[in-house]
Symmetry: C2
Subunit: 336 residues, 2 copies
């Protein structure tokens, strides 16, 4: 049975969302879960669930907590018994195959890199965002915030990691990989994308050239490679826009009685729609390139998002993603 640790003190709704998500995962996914955080708090939360004693859930104590205000450096240096650090150590020591955190993204990334280490051949781990598309299949956007000022060589490595993830975890048979730019023609882009293009062409994968921002949601390609600054902007712009759309629709639908009735009748459609664009269905962003498995969930994660993040971690583990990335990087060594 796969074991996944959960940083139970990380997110905006911690530890409630984390504990409930863990219970749901343990009930239905065939996964053992280790909740990491203040023992007495977590046990009290677990008592809410009648069946928890029969479930494969354990609690491991951690006395400290990284907050959203802590810098990554401070979290790593001075909070050695934080829930994220203890969870990461469980992965390093092989007690858990992976861990999930909805906490301070910078601190989680820095901790995972330092405690678990980086897999052979990877210069820099990268955060892979999983986006919904019109084509129905998810697209992997890598990097969405682990690195800024990326070199062309880093982008080539992101392509390799993203392609393996798409193939193995998202079951895309022969993933197509695009480079995020501002026009499809090869000369359209900035210095980094122009220098990355020949490297990407030399990789043993299906590179289709430049794609534009609008192509993320069409599902034109399965993997989109970009600098982490740009990927983070794309991710956050999307979140902001979805929030705006939801609120505008709600306001418009409440403006008259007729619309209210219409809205009532169409309610299932909106639930449907919200589910299709809801980040919580996708669970979280895998940090690719570190040893073991690290899934970073949205700070706003609810129990459903945490459960899905645990599912993603388990699937990641079953697919031996890291070994495959190591193999592919060795294969494409000339290029990256």
């Amino acid at each position: 049975m796969v074991t996944i640790a959960v940083d139970a003190m990380g997110g905006d709704n911690a530890p409630k969302a984390e504990v409930e998500g863990a219970v749901r995962a343990a009930r239905t996914l065939g996964v053992r879960v280790i909740l990491v955080g203040r023992q007495e708090v977590l046990r009290r939360e677990l008592e809410q669930f009648d069946d928890y004693r029969g479930l494969p859930i354990e609690v491991v104590n951690a006395t400290q907590q990284v907050t959203m205000e802590d810098s990554a450096a401070r979290a790593v240096r001075s909070k050695r018994d934080s829930s994220v650090r203890v969870a990461s150590r469980l992965v390093r020591d092989g007690i858990a195959q992976g861990f999930v955190s909805a906490g301070n993204t910078g601190a989680v990334m820095a901790t995972a890199k330092m405690v678990q280490g980086v897999i052979h051949g990877v210069d820099r781990p990268a955060l892979a965002g999983i986006f919904p598309t019109l084509a129905g299949k998810p697209v992997v956007v890598i990097d969405v915030g682990a690195n800024v000022d990326c070199s062309p060589r880093m982008l080539a490595q992101f392509a390799v990691m993203g392609e393996v993830y798409s193939r193995v975890v998202l079951h895309q048979e022969r993933p197509q990989v695009g480079l995020l730019s501002i026009g499809e023609e090869e000369h359209k882009g900035n210095d980094t994308t122009r220098c990355a293009t020949p490297l990407l062409k030399n990789l043993p994968l299906d590179f289709v050239g430049n794609v534009e921002g609008s192509d993320i949601y069409t599902g034109k390609t399965d993997v989109i490679v970009c600098d982490g600054f740009i990927g983070n902007v794309a991710l956050k712009v999307s979140e902001g826009l979805v929030d705006m759309v939801k609120q505008m629709l709600q306001e418009s639908l409440q403006a008259t009685i007729t619309r209210q009735i219409g809205s009532l009748l169409a309610r299932a459609a909106f639930t449907d729609f919200k589910k299709r664009v809801d980040y919580s269905e996708y669970g979280g962003a895998p940090l690719l390139g570190v040893r073991g498995i690290t899934i970073i969930s949205h700070g706003r994660s609810n129990a459903n998002a945490i459960k899905n993040a645990i599912r993603v971690a388990a699937e990641f583990s079953a697919g031996n993603v890291n070994q495959r990335i190591e193999g592919e990087l060795a294969n494409g060594r000339q290029a990256v």
Copy 2:
């Protein structure tokens, strides 16, 4: 009366959308419009409108046409009688105060810079995207695609130009200016944003520090400054996401009879919503920093978008935006 030239051969729906947009503008906005393109084609289109002879509309002939496939360099070098070039010349010669084009963005920018020239103190003109926000007021995102690999000094100039535009054309009293980054803290960003921060702080405007991608749609600030590569990705990601949302909602709403009835009753709400997120309401993106006025509309522009772009050009002209930008840049000379 303000005179605005329209490149009538530019957009995906040219010349139909351009001619109809010009007629609507001439009817209602108190603006004189010069349609530029193949004379006989434009006259034939104009004949569709019974009242056109009484309207302040003229036609100026241009025998060539820039296509979406032409590179900017080729358009400038070898199509000297193109509709965009002739329109730009009308602005240079003072016959029109500005021009509107829904054509090849790269070609329009290159033509305007070369033919009209750059205003004093500006290193590089920048494209200002006008986005809707939850706060009801529009936000100016600058640059959305005129420049890549921007220097910190260029970002500071974009801030000055965007602030003037927000104040004078969008009537924000004391516009707040943010720098697009990946976290609010000053140290979060890339090399360029970190070096731009002190320059922005020294400008005589209300600089509020870093903002994130999600802040574009909250209306947290009135102006958001970024490299053109990043702004272009933000713009296109937004367009792609809105297209996805519209289509997903439509699919969901057609899935059952009950929902179809609901959808019918709520139809006005969707029209409302589409209008609120519709780029065509905003008319187009002003290219700030060139002499005269250049408004670049979306390739997909319909007649409404063209009419609104003509309105934007007229407001731009009435506000003496270029003189004010020149003055502000002279004011903040130490910084930029």
